[in-house]
Structure formats: structure tokens, C-alpha cells
Symmetry: C2
Subunit: 158 residues, 2 copies
């Protein structure tokens, strides 16, 4: 402790307020995830992690490396290996080596996968629309903005 008073720097909501907020964020996301998981299972016989990977791949028609997928979805490398493995087995995704670098494998959606995902994405959007249906537009926008700021402040490590 050299010269600056430690506790007097921070501004904004007091600690208890922030803790409450975090608990609300956590509960909201768990509630929504539970609904999504159940519906993906019953209507498409798939899982949320698989949907997430398909969703990532759908944004990248040229394909993604394994590490791109894990970075994008905020999950570990080893995790992606297993999920992609099952997607390939199911004919939803394909892996090819990139010429010039045999370490990297490029994962793409197959036509089957693209088609299957399109149906899921359509339903998924409807479900979210339904689940968040009673949020007024201005609140939704404000909330998204706040979270976006938060996210960009923490992107790439604490």
C-alpha cells in the first residue's frame, strides 16, 4: 500500500446490488436454457450444445477450426472435440484438413446439417420470442446495450 486509498476508487452500484443482479442474470439464463433444452430434445431430438455448435458453423460457410468454435462458444477445446464428433457421426458436419497445415481441421455444415439447422433456428427464434415476449422493446434494447458494454469490457481475459 503505497499511496492510493484502495476502496475509494470504484463508482456505480453497491456490491449487494451487483450481487443481486448477477443472481438474476444466472437464474434467467438457466430458466431459458431449461426450456430450450427440453424443446430441442422433444421436437428435434438434439441437445443445446449441439445446437450451439451448428449455430456457430452456420455463420461460417467457409468452415471453422476447432479452436474457433471453442473460442466463439466460450467452451473448452476438449469439449468441442466430442460434440463435433457426434455431429459428424450424425451426418450434420464434415471435417477436412486444410492444405498447408495438417494440424488444423476445418469443420463445415453438410447440406443435411444446414437444412436441419435452418428448421431448428426458425423454431429457436420463435421460442425466444415467446419466452421474452413480455419485455417492452425499450427495456430489451437497454438491457442488450448494457450487457454488450459489459461483455466488450471483459473480452479476452480478466
Amino acid at each position: 500500500m503505497v499511496s492510493a486509498p484502495l476502496a475509494a476508487v470504484k463508482s456505480g452500484a453497491p456490491a449487494k446490488e451487483r450481487l443481486r443482479l448477477w443472481i438474476r442474470i444466472l437464474r434467467a439464463s438457466r430458466l431459458i436454457e431449461a426450456v430450450l433444452r427440453e424443446r430441442l430434445k422433444s421436437r428435434f431430438d438434439t441437445t443445446l450444445p449441439r445446437f450451439d455448435v451448428l449455430s456457430a458453423l452456420d455463420r461460417a460457410p467457409e468452415g471453422m477450426a476447432m479452436s474457433d468454435i471453442s473460442r466463439f462458444l466460450l467452451v473448452s477445446n476438449g469439449n468441442v472435440t466430442g460434440i463435433v464428433e457426434r455431429l459428424v457421426t450424425d451426418g450434420m458436419a464434415s471435417r477436412t484438413k486444410r492444405d498447408g497445415d495438417r494440424r488444423t481441421s476445418i469443420i463445415k455444415l453438410t447440406p443435411t446439417g444446414k437444412e436441419a439447422f435452418a428448421a431448428m433456428a426458425e423454431a429457436h427464434e420463435r421460442w425466444i420470442d415467446e419466452l421474452l415476449g413480455n419485455l417492452p422493446e425499450d427495456e430489451a434494447r437497454a438491457l442488450a446495450g448494457t450487457l454488450k458494454t459489459f461483455e466488450s469490457n471483459w473480452e479476452g481475459g480478466v
Copy 2:
């Protein structure tokens, strides 16, 4: 389809806006969870699920039934069995039968567990305070309010 036009009822943000919001909520909670998990591991040699269960038990000095824990934490029954098992092994929690109903077991924190959790909770609150530190107070309050409304609208099933 009898008489009401299906699409004209809902108000609020359009679907795309809601979808964006959901993705932000999801990413924010995953980012925060990743930090918490890593710190709980390195500083307390424990995991997030264990912390969650301890946290639930700490609110209930008289103890909780297994099903109370799973309902409170929004996780499945079978899941709680394993986590509590490990907590009991570690001396953090105890299980006793309730007289009058031998189906139910009551889980409580041991003194060791209570003490360990107090230290973790203190650190946890500091971490959240740090992670959400740049949220202005009014935004934090608004966000929490919005999420609270959302939650109570969906409590107890879709």
C-alpha cells in the same frame, strides 16, 4: 384457427431484438461463470456447483430436502445426489432422516461447511463486485428489475 389473427397480438421488441438480447444474456453469464469457476478452483479448491449447493444450504439453517435444493438451483434431482454426496464426504454437509417420513433426508451445513462457505461467499461477493464494477447503479437496478419481472412471469413452468 377459429377467429383471432395469430400474429397481431404480441407487443414489445421484435423477434430479432429479443434473440440478440438472449444471446447477450447467455454470453454474459458464461463469461462470469468461467471467471468464478477458475477462482473457486484456484483459491478454494472447489467447484461452482458445490458452491451453489453450499450457498443454498447456508440460507436454510434448518436444512433442506434434496428436492428443495434441486428446485431452488434449477437442476435435476439426480444431479444433486452426487454433489451432496461429495460435500458430505468432504465434511461440509450432513444428512439426517426426518422423523415421521423416512423418504426425506434433511441436508445441513456442518460447522466446517458453514465456516468454509463464509469465506467463499465473502470472496464471491468481491469478485462479482469487481466483474460488474463498471455498471452504473441505475442501469444495474433497471436490469435487475427487468429480469425479476421476467423471472416471476415464468416461475413454475412455461
